[in-house]
Amino acid sequence: MKRARSIAAIARETIAFLAVATPAVGAAAVVLASSSPAFAATPEAAARPASFETLTLAVSGLAASSDASIHDDWDPGASGELSAWTPFGRGFLEVAFQPFASEPRTSDLPRVRTLVTSLGWGAGLRLPAELTFRTSARTAVAWMLYDASGERAAQDENELAFGVRAELERRVGSGWAAHAGVRAVRILTRERIDLVFAGAGVSWTFAAPAWMRAVLE
């Protein structure tokens, strides 16, 4: 009887595992399998630049959303972002640097200066009127510097973060484009820090240098 119960327990736990694993792996399989050559052979895909063929540099001005705060203790102010992206597979690969400073709301807290360095992958969707909707998911490291305050010395710390970017982009000239959109970042401290920024900027796209393509490929 004990053995029968044991076998039943194994069966139940296995079914539970498969119930969780199958949809997760299956959904990911559909997404990733769509990157296969069969999908890439569509006319739309053929118009895409090859991986690492171009390089885009962008600068953006950003402001934290009106209700943004770090747990009601700090107030993130204006921010900016320098980023670069290049075509990669069915989307693009990007790196970004976003510094901002958070002013304390009480005098006993230090000012927190933060640099979020991100590596992301995303995709663009062509729209009418030379518009492109561009979105990406980012993995980041938030480098935090706590200014000296009172008798407390300056400190630094870093933590993993995730983020997303969503922008609307319009061509304004040969290689030039203007964009506006939002960014959200979650810093994985024990009490999570969630921040949303909105802003606009310009970008310049040019053919990637041969040496850079050689290295990346």
């Binding site: 194994i10 595992f17 694993a21 792996v25 990733l32 933590e159 290295v215």
Partner: protein, 702 residues
């Protein structure tokens, strides 16, 4: 019959005759052995798998043994149990590097991190699930075979740095009432290897290599250094470590230099190797139930060679010799109890191999001597010799099927030991049987040395009782498997990005049973004090325990598209028979555990893996709940420190990209992506979301 298939069959026969401990041509023979044994239920991972998995240290390769139960206390040393082996019952796994057995055992603990080896030198790792016999030596708990690469270019340089970080630092919250303890980075490893290689002139400059004159002679050598650090900063273990070893007892540091040199020629090869590792760590003494601060050192030196009177001929003579020293020294850190332990093992073997017409036979003899020192104690039987003869017969290798028979007879400390094994692979069905008897110093090292004067627990005030007469364990094991779709070659062809592959899937269903008798099992009760430091309230060493563990395994690979495949592995096992204690300790091993992974190569030189791993609940008999441990558990964000570990599942995501014609490799891996706290040992670390970043530079070919 053409000559080529005959030679191919002969090469495979030789590999089977030697496998898996074939020093004649470690890379080729190791791969052949891996393929041959894989049909019997073993699995292997290659360098690409290792890079993609986000591993930090060599010991982490055990995380890739899909059907093995892997547990850890502090995250540095991993304990692994292949199918059929239960915690606390029976010996651990054996370790072979390029076919050379390396003695890593320390009172029943086998830590791969003691190897002076870094991951960038590893070409393949094969996990042998079954008890096996290698050159007359029994490995009852399966084996891990590590195959390394050798320098091929005139000068080659490899360097690697990998760093991991756990999330959950307080951030600016540390200045507020929401302050939480800082979470240390869980570690890094940096390594570098410089290799040289010089080829001689071929027998005839304009003649291509042939089996009779396969290649020019070649000299090669490499030297490497590894430095690693791990922080036992997890809040679940840090207070205990500080209570045991003081405020600075949280950093595990390892340094490991190594050197190798060899010469390959048409008539054979010879190679020498030497290495050492020194680790400042907390050694988890299972019988005590907690860590002891020690300096742990490992040294090894050895040589092996093969001689073929006629290149490509049927006869090969091989010999190898090695010396290893394992040491634990608690005096440097003033650890308590004062564990000082040095075990020196010297061994050698010689074998003659004859292969002809798809058949091969090897005959050999081995001798191993052991010497144990403990400065603070008087030990009895400090030295002993184990010796024996062995033979292996392999047949039918030409048809892709094989039959092998292993015989090993010997004496260890005057007692007879033996191992008899038989395996058969044919038409997708593999079967193996093995019967063996070990010496007590091999199957129950702690009990054996406790009987002979190792009184560290008595010194720590732990009352010990012994029940039954200590004997060497006997083992009877059987495995049966059926493979559908395709074997190892097809699995390799199904890798994303690989061309061809006749089959879209490969599935192996297997069942196994292990019958143990005269086992020695520690039965203890560990009660945590107010600092969460467990202490052994009493310890009973039960000899003459017996039991049977049985279960099944499933391994499946499905090729979804040329750039994507899915792998699933499952293992279920239970104690189906045996004494109450055997059944009780078996419950610390999850009955089912499984892993499912999607591997894709959406872009050239980029691999992505999404994996789900799961393990069922386990019950650790030794760790009884106490008010203190429950308090500790209650403070651990829902995880508990009592004897029951709940079922757990986690999702891992990893990216691996090569640049500049594979000279530069970058990897990014997330473990436990959804940050679900889980632990594998009742007083072990709590795994959370972790990110691992690695960079590897390879200049010069292999």
């Amino acid at each position: 019959m053409s000559a080529a298939p005959t030679r191919a069959a002969l090469a495979t026969a030789l590999a089977l005759a030697l496998a898996p401990g074939a020093p004649a041509s470690p890379t080729d023979a190791g791969a052949a052995a891996a393929e041959a044994s894989r049909a019997g239920g073993a699995s292997s991972v290659d360098a690409g798998d290792l890079r993609r998995a986000g591993l930090v240290r060599i010991g982490d390769v055990l995380r890739l043994a899909e059907t093995w139960d892997v547990t850890t206390v502090e995250g540095f040393t991993l304990d692994a149990r292949p199918p059929g082996v239960a915690g606390g019952a029976g010996a651990g796994f054996a370790v072979f590097v390029d076919g050379i057995p390396l003695d890593l055992d320390l009172l029943g603990s086998t830590s791969l991190n003691r190897l002076p080896l870094s991951l960038e030198r590893v070409e393949r790792v094969t996990f042998d699930d079954r008890p096996i016999v290698v050159r007359g030596r029994l490995a009852p708990g399966g084996a891990v075979h590590v195959t390394t690469s050798r320098p091929g270019a005139a000068v080659s340089l490899r360097a690697r740095h990998v760093s991991g970080s756990e999330t959950g630092d307080p951030g600016p919250n540390q200045f507020t009432e929401r302050a939480t303890p800082n979470v240390e980075r869980f570690g890094f490893e940096s390594s570098a290897m410089l290799g040289v290689s010089r080829s001689g002139s071929p027998p005839a400059a304009d003649a291509p290599p042939t089996p009779e004159a396969p290649c020019a002679s070649r000299f090669w050598s490499d030297a490497a250094f590894v430095r690693a650090r791990h922080y036992a900063g997890d809040e679940a273990i840090l207070p205990r470590w500080v209570a045991i070893g003081g405020g600075d007892f949280r950093v595990i540091e390892k340094e490991a230099p190594s050197w190798r040199a060899g010469w390959d020629g048409a008539h054979g090869e010879v190679a020498v190797h030497a290495g050492a590792s020194a680790i400042d760590e907390g050694f988890f003494l299972r019988a005590l139930g907690r860590e002891i601060p020690v300096e742990s050192t490992f040294r090894e030196i050895g040589a092996h060679g093969a001689w073929r009177p006629r290149p490509g001929g049927a006869f090969t003579l091989e010999a190898s010799a090695r010396s290893t020293t394992n040491e634990l020294d608690a005096t440097e850190r003033r650890g308590a109890p004062r564990l000082d332990w040095r075990r020196k093992a010297r061994g050698g073997d010689v074998a003659a191999i004859v292969g002809r017409g798809g058949r091969a036979a090897s005959f050999g003899a081995r001798v191993d001597s052991y010497e144990v020192h403990s400065r603070n104690r008087t030990l009895r039987a400090r030295t002993w010799v184990s010796s024996g003869v062995f033979a292996r017969f392999a047949a039918d290798v030409a048809s892709g099927a094989s039959r092998t028979v292993d015989l090993s007879l010997g004496r260890s400390r005057g007692r007879a030991v033996y191992a008899v094994g038989f395996s058969r692979v044919r038409a997708g069905v593999d079967a193996s049987l093995l019967a063996a008897r070990q010496g007590p110093e091999e199957s129950a090292p702690f009990s054996f040395w406790r009987e002979r004067g190792l009184d560290v627990l008595d010194e720590a005030g732990v009352p010990i009782t012994t029940r039954g007469d200590l004997r060497g364990a006997t083992l009877l094991s059987g495995d049966l498997g059926v493979t559908f779709g395709g074997g190892p070659a097809h699995l390799a062809a199904m890798r994303p990005g690989a061309a061809g592959g006749a089959h879209r899937f490969s599935v192996r269903l297997g069942v196994f049973a292990r019958r143990f008798a005269d086992l020695s099992i520690d039965d203890a009760r560990f009660v945590a004090d107010s600092l969460g430091v467990p202490g052994a309230a009493d310890l009973a060493l039960h000899a003459e325990e017996q039991g049977t563990a049985a279960g099944g395994t499933l391994r499946a690979t499905l090729r979804l598209a040329p750039s994507a495949q899915v792998r699933v592995a499952w293992r279920g096992q239970d104690a189906v028979d045996g004494t109450a204690l055997f059944r009780a300790v078996s419950r610390s091993t999850p009955k089912p555990l499984a892993r499912a992974a999607l591997l894709a190569a959406p872009v050239r030189e980029l691999e992505v893996e999404l994996a789900v791993r799961a393990r069922s609940a386990a019950r650790w008999r030794a760790y009884e709940p106490s008010p203190e441990s429950l308090d500790v558990g209650a403070s651990l964000d829902g995880a508990n420190a009592d004897a029951s570990l709940p079922a757990a599942a986690a999702v891992d995501l990893s990216f691996s990209k090569s640049f500049a014609r594979r000279r530069l490799h970058l990897g990014l891996a997330f473990r436990n992506l959804f940050d679900r706290p889980a632990r594998t040992h009742p007083i072990g670390e709590i795994e959370r979301l972790t990110v691992v970043v690695q960079a590897e530079l390879a200049l010069g070919g292999e």
